[in-house]
């Protein structure tokens, strides 16, 4: 009995409104698809393989931004560097964030880094995105770093309440969990979590049906992957190589 196999690589993504202390909870594989390696303060930009973004949600006398953010935000919107406005999205360069045991902390613009730092308001959202497959964003080339499952072990797809937005364009996001029979052979399940564009759950179900019946048996079909150079591989519901599903995060939560 021949079966098609589907391969999922991994790209970590996390967002939270951490409040005024500019510190995230410790990221885990289950919550973020990565546990970023430690990084000390004042590293050159590009040192780490994660990027950190802040989306301003609260206007007025709340957040304070450093003077080094220029006049245009990540999405091309005109901004005033030191005066955050609702809807601004800026990237915090490596110089102004630290990582310790999976916890990311932004340098405070008021006290730590008046150029590249940010003093967050209570509702401002911090986004953390893995940019390439690397040892700085484990799991890397270990369990949960990438796996191929037989479609005969696919148990089902479940939409998960998410109600958040992408820092790219501030478009809505959804989450779908794909369940497969446990890789430890017991009665539990492995979960592949996809963070994707809003409303794509039906298309993901169509994709899984098509994968199961596509008749490709000589290789594992990649649904999503991120390689060590930052290049992504996609599979659309019509088997095109575009990101029609709007996937920005993909990771494995294995059975124990």
């Amino acid at each position: 009995m021949k079966q098609t196999y589907v391969y999922f690589g991994k790209r970590g993504y996390y967002q939270i409104a951490p409040g005024e202390d500019e510190t995230t909870p410790a990221l885990t594989n289950a919550t973020a698809g990565m546990v970023p390696a430690n990084q000390l303060v004042d590293q050159a930009d590009g040192t780490h393989d994660i990027q950190v973004f802040i989306q301003t949600v609260t206007d007025g006398g709340s957040g304070v931004r450093g003077t080094g953010f220029g006049t245009v935000d990540y999405n091309g919107k005109t901004i005033v560097s030191a005066d955050p406005a609702v809807g601004d999205v800026v990237r915090i360069i490596d110089t102004a964030f630290t990582v310790n045991a999976g916890t990311i902390m932004i340098e405070d613009a008021a006290s730590d880094d008046t150029t590249n730092g940010y003093t967050m308001a209570a509702d401002d959202i911090l986004h953390v995105h893995q940019m390439k497959a690397s040892a700085k964003c484990p799991p890397f080339e270990v369990r949960s770093g990438g796996a191929a499952y037989p479609m005969g072990n696919f148990l089902g797809a479940q939409p998960v309440a998410y109600n958040r937005v992408n820092y790219k364009g501030l478009t809505a996001l959804d989450v779908t969990d794909l369940y497969f029979k446990s890789t430890i052979g017991d009665n539990t399940a492995d979960v592949v979590r996809l963070v994707h564009a809003d409303g794509k759950y039906p298309d993901i179900c169509k994709l899984m049906e098509r994968l199961n019946n596509c008749g490709i048996y000589d290789r594992a079909i990649t649904v999503y992957d991120l390689d060590s150079t930052g290049k992504e591989t996609f599979l659309s519901p019509t088997f095109g190589d575009d990101n029609e599903l709007g996937i920005i995060g993909c990771w494995h939560v294995p059975s124990a």
């Binding site: 009995m1 391969y7 990438g146 191929a148 052979g185 017991d186 594992a220 390689d227």
Partner: protein, 116 residues
């Protein structure tokens, strides 16, 4: 039903030991997963316990080396092709150290068969 076979031992006298050599029906494959920069793990239902797993750990070149970055992913494709084999014998061989057989992106040494 077709089968997959793995033998990690290069000496005939060692083949009969536990965790040396086994064949599974292809329906027993649970997943094929990256395990390290030099190994890939084929998760299988255990031979003697339907609530547990066995494994075939296939060794390959180091994926942190520039020339072999993609060998792990390529080996996954080869394992899938072996599982879905059209061999007349009905058995896809993932590794056989005794007879010097491995998949193209695999290597003959440091493979592991874990039956249960």
């Amino acid at each position: 039903m077709k089968y997959i076979f793995a033998n990690s031992k290069s000496t005939l006298g060692d083949v009969g030991a536990a965790d040396a050599c086994a064949a599974w029906p292809v329906s027993a494959v649970l997943a094929i997963e990256k395990l390290s920069t030099t190994t890939l793990e084929v998760h299988l239902q255990a031979l003697d316990n339907t609530g547990d797993a066995g494994h075939i750990t296939l060794a390959h070149a180091d994926t942190t080396a520039g020339t072999t970055l993609n060998c792990s992913r390529a080996l996954i494709d080869e394992v899938v092709a072996a599982i879905n084999n059209d061999n007349r014998s009905g058995v896809g061989v993932l590794v056989d150290a005794l007879n010097g057989v491995s998949l193209r992106n695999g290597v003959l040494t440091s493979n592991v068969v874990d039956e249960a």
